[in-house]
Symmetry: C2
Subunit: 299 residues, 2 copies
């Protein structure tokens, strides 16, 4: 029997559970609160939020499975002939309290239409407030190792995709140190079975907890100053700009009349846009800024 | 001689000056810093920012006059056959420190293309953190009195336009208590001369300083609590959402490769998106929320 909606949503829910357990354990204080919600047009979700933990100031591990009539905006964007859609996924953003712990984002999703079209999408990317080159390399190596188990071309291909996707055009800088991003993976495009693609996607999802709990543990006790905190607020403001201006997942959520508090769970607990800000010359803030401005150069 | 670019930009600059003087005087402490900038594709502007005043925490009174090749995105949106454009305007947003002083926005703009098409646009709207019905009525009466001097249909027509424009669809609430909004006013559409339309527009611009200095003076000494401040941060976050997700002026700025710090000057100095927030039942916060949810009901 072909891999269907039920098997996929069950696996996603299991992943959500195990990630929440791992993050909560690594945090040591914060626990996830669950909110089960229903979408008026069909389906619903389970939004799990951790707030004011010892490490995580605000984070969400969201599961959703929605279905119904394909909204006109989405149909146009997809040039779709279908009338019904089904979409399920797990979506994560973590905003740590300590500026030396990076922000992280992970998403895996499955989409299908009643004309038989389906695909998988997803990715993990890292947004350090302060870029630590060793850590960024380690992060990418983790992604590469897992990708390589499924297809030796995946890592390079999906890293390039992330580099481009997470480039904040209006600021001419990258959101963070990138990661991997993939979309519309299906049998025809990849010459792989649905089962094989799903296994790869789940492997990426399962990589999230070991990666991020290590980044939490390694950095959570680092001392920081008011300057570090101000820089964190500044980097968070760019995160807001990316998510509200460019992010396709956010747009999809708004266009499908999704649960707004779950969609915008990704936004930081505090941030701001003071007009005049300056950072010490040759300090770590400007070093990070320089890297973000040169990490990816759009064509 | 027909009213040309030079006369319009001169009037806009004069207005910018007089507004800065009035706001700075009413603030009593803050002064505007000016930054003259050039746009690589043609033209430039004068961004005036006030920060950490006694009343205004962050505010901008921006003038710009840009020209050059019409960017493809804009051409498509306008279904324009033209290849060159000229756009000038004055744009204001004020974020006060005291939650009982409202946020305000004002904009007047002029746009023309080399095929001879031109129009005026603009408006003023008010975003109180706490809605004071008497004050909102007074504000609207001020707008109506001025509109009525030019056309008895203007106020109702432009208020409806603002009601619709400043409705935050993804939140199902209005941004504030609305105001007036108008766009694409020209000879053909309005059966009025260019001079008459310009006079009306300038009268709206000149209304800004007397309106806002009064709102500053009336409210700046009101005492406030941490709860009031938290509510202000919350309302500010909705302001960010509107500006980054819906606002056409912001989109136009980003699409024309405008000066990013001037375009996003509208964003508040501090805000945030904590997930769990609650407000006292039947308190003034929920009263304001209720009004915002019922002020305008979209078709």
């Amino acid at each position: 029997m072909a891999l269907g909606r039920e098997a996929i949503t069950t696996a996603y829910k299991t992943l959500q559970d195990s990630i929440c357990t791992a993050i909560s354990e690594a945090d040591g204080k914060g626990e996830f609160a669950s909110e089960i919600w229903e979408r008026p047009g069909g389906g619903g979700g389970d939004t799990r939020v951790i707030e004011n933990g010892a490490v995580i100031e605000k984070g969400g591990v969201n599961f959703s499975a929605v279905h119904g009539a394909l909204p006109p905006k989405i149909a146009t964007a997809l040039k779709a002939s279908s009338e019904e859609f089904f979409a399920t996924g797990v979506s994560i953003v973590m905003h740590p309290e300590n500026p030396f712990v990076p922000i992280i984002h992970m998403n895996i999703r499955y989409f299908e239409m009643d004309n038989g079209t389906w695909w998988f999408g997803g990715g993990i990317d890292l947004t350090p407030h302060y870029i630590n080159q060793g850590e960024a390399t380690w992060f990418h190596n983790q992604l590469k190792e897992t990708c390589d188990q499924y297809d030796l071309e995946y890592y390079a291909r999906f890293k390039n995709w992330a580099d481009e996707y997470f480039y904040v055009r209006h600021r001419k800088e990258s959101r963070g140190v990138s990661g991997i991003f993939f979309d519309r993976l299906n049998e025809d495009a990849e010459k792989k079975s649905k089962e094989a693609l799903f296994k790869f996607q789940l492997a990426i999802g399962e990589l999230f907890a070991p990666i991020y709990t290590r980044l939490m543990t390694d950095n959570k006790n680092k001392e920081y100053t008011n300057l570090n905190k101000a820089w964190q607020m500044h980097r968070r403001s760019r995160y807001v700009e990316f998510n509200l201006v460019h992010d396709k997942g956010t747009k999809f959520g708004l266009d499908t009349d999704g649960r707004i508090d779950s969609i915008l769970m990704s936004l930081p607990p505090s941030t701001g846009w003071p007009y005049t800000q300056s950072w010490p010359e040759n300090g770590p803030e400007m070093k990070t800024q320089k890297i973000l401005e040169t990490l990816y150069l759009p064509k």
